[in-house]
Symmetry: C2
Subunit: 405 residues, 2 copies
């Protein structure tokens, strides 16, 4: 029997290692390959010969790895040259695979990784080399086309929505409360910020306003909205994506940073801090707090969604199965079969179709004022956020396992 | 039978409502008072007649309230005048209690609340009014004297340590990693920052340096430590308390903010952002991230420590029991009976002794370099951090209940 290899690429998620474990256990069950290798630090590591044998680790290590957040095989942001420019790296990679008798390569990542997967697959076919290349989706941003959603998003959404609810309560305790701004990731798309809509108290959404990159942001309208709401309820809760833009397509945060650059100031943080200063300057109130969730939202295994972990596992499992059927140049997509009870299935989609596309948050799910979401968004989001797995919640402190440390 | 009243004061914690539920259920079991009232927004609310009847709510509401973070009765930062200055507020409060046939007053809070508790108790005794006043400890800062620790701290410690471990993994995925700075709360004491020491991978603490207000902070030594560590391992993880000070006792963050004030700049965030800029300016590396946990660390019920929740419940329970025995002017303290298995008991401590004291992190638990902790700190911290209660982890999104909304 030949061997296979898996590697991770791009920004980490809470569930990216579950996909690796799904693949390892698919091989244990289906018996397709002799050994499952892992490339450390993605394709960059493989090109440097940084390869370990995953299937030699104990089941205990594998079980802990499954519930360890962040890329436990290490990651990279390495982009291979275009085939037309040079085939050198492609040849080198294929040689390394050949030297290890590797007949299938699995890459866990987002758009760029699917680009790499598609190119490698095409080059192998072109040069008559029998290696299968399959992409496994991963990104908290949920911005891959064709797949209903991406593994990693559900857990990020759960952490964001939970944190919104908790910080809303925290910012509501006094007689005179203030304005709270929570900034999420999502430079190009609003999926992460949108998940804040799941935070409800007494059946009512706690976020007064949710701003996404897909709706043009107008500073004057924003201040007017906030002023009116503050006068009405003496408290305002705002969720904002780091990627909100003006009608001209300029990042609101960057527009601000540039206006200060000439003084040589240090950077002022993100758009949340900018909006905070804006509100204070406008005289609405000086009681304004802003909070950036930062990398917490992509690694918070302690608040992971079990459905997300399970689907991450399954796309890994399915990737191995499809490679064994001779497929190459595809990514595993998730199809939503049913919402209540939630049910999904898996399918193949050409990796190059994923590579050059971005799935934006549907503008028809944003209200007319551009400052909140419609019910359709909640119907989409809610089933992806489920319970925290017992193995995580039952432990005083997590016992994580990674292979790159 | 007469009635009793409970109110919350100061900054919220994840477990402050559990103390209220402990008290309500103590009364259900022991049958001491007719009704349990709650003052909304602390003493400020009571003085405005803002009182509800807690014992009239359903058991379902009470159960959900027990696992709801942040002061669900509302809070205040109201300091009563000194008795020598004016007894007007004291008389008004006692009249309100009398009008509602209230014979016991319970105040959940920190130093200031214990000051209020002590003063009210003394004044009632002095004027021959039969109302008992008992304080219930609460603060994430863990800075109350005599009690082994305070309810609220264990859950904050669990969230901080867990976030340290997860963000450490997140910041470790590339071949060339950078420097990560996590800033915790704790303006006067280092208990919160210290809890980062619980974050371990493969049995080894992941934080390279932990800086507390109790050890004088020297910028040059800091940069030297960071530079050496970065050269050694191409990655540094730093935890810093917002309250770190220079040898002269000046807040490091403020020293910085002031140096920029003359230009009229907006505030640059906390000490984490300051240290980040310092490292970049010093040329060690430009790959530096800083993250402020902010209010998340005091309201993260989704990562609460069950032992903390239980103890919060028990101090509420014990407060009612002690009032029924005729005690007044005391706070309920926690005594650690055993570390493994962890066991605690409860005792009375004069509220005025708590009011005018601060419990600092023991300097003998800090290493000689002032940049890390000794084993004794871990022995103290570890038992306070336990599992997440099932009721929280099993729910896709929490169903919280508060009484001030």
């Amino acid at each position: 029997m030949a061997n296979c290899i898996i590697a991770q690429s791009g920004g980490p998620t809470a569930v990216i290692n579950s996909s690796v474990v799904g693949l390892v256990e698919a091989n244990n069950t289906l018996g397709i390959f002799d050994k499952v290798y892992a490339g450390l630090n993605g394709i960059e590591g493989i090109l440097n010969g940084n390869i370990i044998e995953l299937s030699s680790f104990s089941q205990d290590d594998i079980n802990r790895f499954r519930y360890t957040p962040s890329s436990g095989l290490g990651s990279c942001r390495y982009k291979m040259k275009k085939l037309e420019e040079s085939t050198e790296e492609y040849d080198r990679l294929l040689e390394i695979l050949k030297a290890n008798d590797i007949k299938a390569f699995f890459y866990v990542g987002g758009n760029d990784s699917m680009d790499t997967t598609a190119k490698l697959s095409a080059y192998a076919k072109e040069t008559g080399i029998d290696v299968k290349f399959i992409g496994i989706p991963k990104t908290i941003d949920n911005d891959l086309m064709y797949t209903d959603h991406t593994p990693g998003f559900g857990s990020a959404a759960k952490f964001i929505a939970t944190s919104v609810l908790e910080t809303y309560l925290d910012s509501s305790v006094y007689i005179n409360n203030g304005i709270f701004i929570l900034e999420t990731m999502g430079r190009d798309t609003g999926w992460l910020a949108a998940s804040a809509a799941l935070a409800k108290l007494n059946g009512k959404q706690v976020a007064d306003f949710i701003y996404l990159p897909e709706a043009a942001f107008d500073v004057d309208k924003f201040l007017c909205d906030v002023k009116n709401k503050f006068e009405e309820q003496n408290q305002v809760y705002i969720v904002v994506s780091e990627g909100i833009r003006t009608a001209e397509g300029k990042f609101v945060a960057e527009a601000h940073a540039q206006s200060h650059d000439k003084f040589g100031h240090a950077q002022l943080g993100g758009v949340g801090a900018y909006l905070k200063n804006l509100i204070i300057s406008s005289g609405i109130t000086s009681r304004v707090k802003s909070l950036e969730l930062g990398v917490l939202q992509r690694c918070a295994m302690h608040c992971a969604s079990n459905i997300d972990l399970e689907e991450a596992y399954e796309v890994g499992y399915e990737a191995l199965r499809q490679a064994s059927l001779g497929k190459s140049g595809y990514m595993i997509g998730i199809k939503r079969e049913n919402n209540a009870p939630y049910k999904s299935s898996y399918f193949l989609i050409e990796a190059d179709k994923i590579a050059n596309n971005v799935k934006y948050f549907p503008t028809e799910w944003i209200n007319e004022s551009g400052n909140n979401l419609k019910e359709e968004a909640l119907e989409y989001l809610a089933p992806l956020v489920s319970e925290i797995p017992d193995i995580i919640s039952a432990s005083p402190m997590p016992s994580f396992k990674v292979f790159n440390k």
